[in-house]
Amino acid sequence: MSTVVKHVEFLLAQWRVNLSSAMAYKASFLTQSLFMILNDILLLFLWYVLLHNFPDIGGWGMSEIWLMYGLSAGGYGLTAMLFGNVFELSHIISEGQLDYYLALPKNVLLHALASRTQFSAVGDLAFGLVMGYLGCRAVGASFLLFLCFLLTAALILAAFYVILGSLAFFLGRSEAISQQVGQSIVTFGMYPGGIYQGVAKFIVMFVIPAAFMVHLPVELLRSFSLPGLMTVILATVTSWLLALMVFSSGLKRYESGNQITMRG
């Protein structure tokens, strides 16, 4: 059996286990998901107020705002559902909890990331899909293309968090920096790309790549171009290559936490 098939089978098994754990606390799972949807809906209020005062924001109207939220909230939801531990990677490394994954015959990073599912992320994903659907209808874009960009958004976000989490190999305890800088990609992605100028534009493209996660895909959904699609794919692949490079070079410096860990 090829390595890719083995990895896919392993991931499916891991996600089944995560889903079973979530279902053990059905009420909590449902409450968190529903409240997260409500939480996300309230985020639209700012744009309602601004568009009440201005005809457009950086060239974007409400339809583009829907697409923007579809990709940022949906991308976050997808990452948190499938690779929920990516947001805890820094903590896992600095606490020496990587020992558990190192001792098993599976890919360390893949296993660590997929070992956790955030229950509330289902709400984010559901909200993102509804926003994406509404946005696609409003601008006449293909929903399938939106789903492709949802996947690239989730992958870019995960890669960015892997890079930040891996800083713990080099800096020790860096959870706070990892969390706050990580949050910034979602924050940058929740504002129209057209407003960024000068240094800010450079940051959202090359330092905190919200442009490739959200802004460029929204523009492509409005007006498709093949070079644009290739740019997004290239950015996704590059961010993962960088993430794997940082993680594997960090792993060589990893020091065990000498912890005895029980996992249920």
Binding site: L50, H52, S174, A176, Q180, V181, S184, T187, G194
Partner: protein, 282 residues
């Protein structure tokens, strides 16, 4: 009668001593919390980075919408960026009160805290005020510097600064009461976080976290002014950029109505919660 006359000052003196000891304990807890907050320099630095990013985004947003000369409901770009600086200083300085109460319930630590000779809510309040004071100081330095770099000096006066300080104390007190009310739900549900998400979005929308309530459509302005969330962020920030006596009066009225009301709810919630909380561990 004579006995009563003599007992009066003694009783007063005993009560004063008791109150002073209580206040001394709470001050000590607040100081420990403040010192411990200062020790987390990395967290403070990380928040400063995030704060800078938010200010940068909004400076760009207002620049894109207003240009260099335009204004929105009478506010120019400089005022709007400084408004956000003050609201974000408060928002980013908010402590982990909810997590602390949730952990106390889930870990069983609550059993030990409840038998201490100090009220649990007062203990959390002392921690909250100790931590938030340091947080506000540090964030104001970081955010103030970034805002100054982005749009120039603050558009404020000495009088407005004094009003801001007063409204900051009121806003932080209301914020504590609102978050405490939500945190105490942990006694009943163990998972109060979803309620906090909604609270944070109500503060964001009805509290004018990102933009002054003055630019909302009329219906939402009326709604926001009837709720307590405006006093947490909008009040101090609006006073800072020149709200005048009108904003001061409006916020004092809000505080007079909502602080006693929330206190009553918290006392009721705490009494009921302590009777039925299911403490784990030991």
């Amino acid at each position: 009668m004579k006995h009563q006359l003599n007992a009066g000052p003694e009783t007063t003196s005993v009560q004063a001593g008791w109150a002073s000891r209580k206040l001394g304990k709470l001050t000590t807890i607040a100081l420990v919390a403040a010192r411990s907050k200062l020790a987390y320099w990395q967290e403070i630095g990380a928040r400063a980075i995030f704060f800078s990013i938010v200010l940068l985004i909004f400076s760009q947003l207002w620049g894109s919408l207003l240009g260099s000369q335009g204004n929105l409901a009478g506010f120019d770009r400089r005022q709007l960026v400084w408004y956000l600086t003050i609201t974000e200083v408060i928002a980013l300085s908010t402590t982990s009160l909810l997590r602390s109460v949730e952990n106390d319930v889930k870990s069983g630590q609550l059993a030990y805290l409840l038998i201490r000779p100090i009220n649990y809510v007062a203990y959390q309040a002392a921690n909250f005020f100790g931590e938030i004071t340091v947080g506000i100081g540090m964030n104001l330095l970081a955010g103030g510097a970034v805002a100054w770099l982005l749009v120039g000096p603050p558009p404020t006066t000495l009088q407005a600064g004094a009003a801001t300080l007063l409204l900051l104390v009121i806003g932080v007190s209301l914020q504590f009461l609102l978050i405490a009310m939500i945190s105490l739900l942990s006694f009943f549900t163990e998972e109060a976080r979803p309620f906090y998400w909604i609270y944070s979005k109500l503060v964001f929308t009805m509290g004018g976290l990102f933009v002054p309530i003055d630019i909302y459509p009329a219906f939402f302005q009326r709604l926001a002014k009837a709720l307590p969330f405006q006093a947490v962020h909008y009040g101090p920030a609006r006073a800072f950029i020149g709200g005048g006596t009108e904003v001061l009066g409006q916020m004092l009225t809000t505080a007079l109505i909502w602080i006693p009301l929330l206190l009553l709810v918290i006392v009721w919630e705490f009494r009921l919660g302590v009777k039925q909380v299911n403490v784990n561990g030991g």
